[in-house]
């Protein structure tokens, strides 16, 4: 037996990256802004999305959502109450969404009938960070009920986000949330990220986040 070296120089997630790249092209061509929502379980992705879908539809935007969870369709049912088209991906044992799962779930939808498509990732602060889904915006949520230093503990995911949402701010006083510490922690790990302070219950900050997304969509379509 003779040993030999084969040079490969290939990203291990190359297949996912290529598929995500193709999806991004489709999204841009259709003029739909795609947002990938990531956070730990229970940070309030579904509640934020419910309120966001409701308000965006009231403004006449055409919105849709894909929801990933290991099991149950509960979140999809909750979101469907907004009247927006919602599809569920049950990932089984998989702790994150991958581009091919998203691509398969898009089948039968006409992307140019949507202005915004939200992808609610599996609640997990580690695994989703390496998987590009073709999104234009990756938004990470940090609830005031979590530790203020979460971003410092999970830098790959927080750093990979374009923007951060502090959620459940209506509970801040009750949990003695240290706002300055949380902002400093986010800025330490993701200095590039815009920060929105929101409450799905009171509606605080939700319109600002919607304005931001609308502006991002205008940029997308201007560059197209």
């Amino acid at each position: 037996m003779k040993p030999r070296i084969l040079e490969l120089r290939q990203a291990v997630l190359d297949k996912n990256d290529q598929l995500a790249h193709a999806l991004r092209g489709q999204f841009e061509a259709a003029g739909v802004l795609v947002v990938n929502l990531v956070s730990s379980p229970g940070a309030g992705k579904t509640a934020l999305l419910e309120e966001t879908l409701r308000r965006m539809q009231a403004r006449g935007w055409r919105v849709a959502a894909i929801v990933g969870d290991l099991a149950t369709e509960n979140d999809a049912r909750r979101l469907a109450r907004s009247g927006a088209p919602v599809r569920q991906i049950e990932t089984g044992a998989l702790c994150h969404l991958e581009a091919d799962l998203v691509a398969r779930r898009l089948e039968g939808w006409r992307l140019d009938e949507f202005d915004f498509l939200f992808i609610e990732n599996v609640g997990n602060l580690v695994c989703p960070s390496d998987y590009d889904l073709g999104e234009a915006v990756r938004a990470v949520l940090l609830a005031v009920t979590e530790g203020e230093d979460k971003p410092r503990k999970y830098p790959p995911l927080f750093h990979s986000a374009d923007l951060a949402l502090l959620t459940k701010i209506d509970l801040a006083a009750a949990v003695e949330f240290d706002r300055n510490a949380a902002l400093a922690s986010l800025q330490a790990v993701a200095p590039h990220a815009a920060i929105f302070e929101t409450s799905a219950r009171t509606g605080a900050g939700i319109d600002d986040w919607i304005e931001y997304l609308a502006a991002r969509r205008r940029d997308l379509n201007r560059n197209a």
Binding site: M1, E7, V12, L13, L94, D130, Q187, P191
Partner: protein, 130 residues
Amino acid sequence: MHELSIAYSLVEIADEAARKAGAARVRTVHLRLGAMAGVVEDALRFSFPIAAGDTLVAGAELAIEPVAVQVFCDVCAQSRVLAAPFVFRCPVCEQPVFTLLQGREIQIESIEIEESEAESEKRLYETAHS
């Protein structure tokens, strides 16, 4: 734990390349792993033999070359290396840094394969006559 998914992708790439090259088996897989890749090395090492199953990668060594986090500081106009825990501030001027140059890599660099004498001679013959 997504390290198992990553191990399966890694094995698939190595196995396919080895098969194409007519290898008998893979001896070593060389991987570059960024400190900000979000991959736990121990979990990946644990997952690797499971993913290797009965492919040509079975029994192979996983050699991991760590890749440090490198950023570009606009203020200093210099690239800088960040140490864990990762705070995206220039270690020299302490201003925020916005450009990540490296540190997220999960990249298969090369594989070391074993080929039979016959396969080796055939390849050398083909190379010489092409």
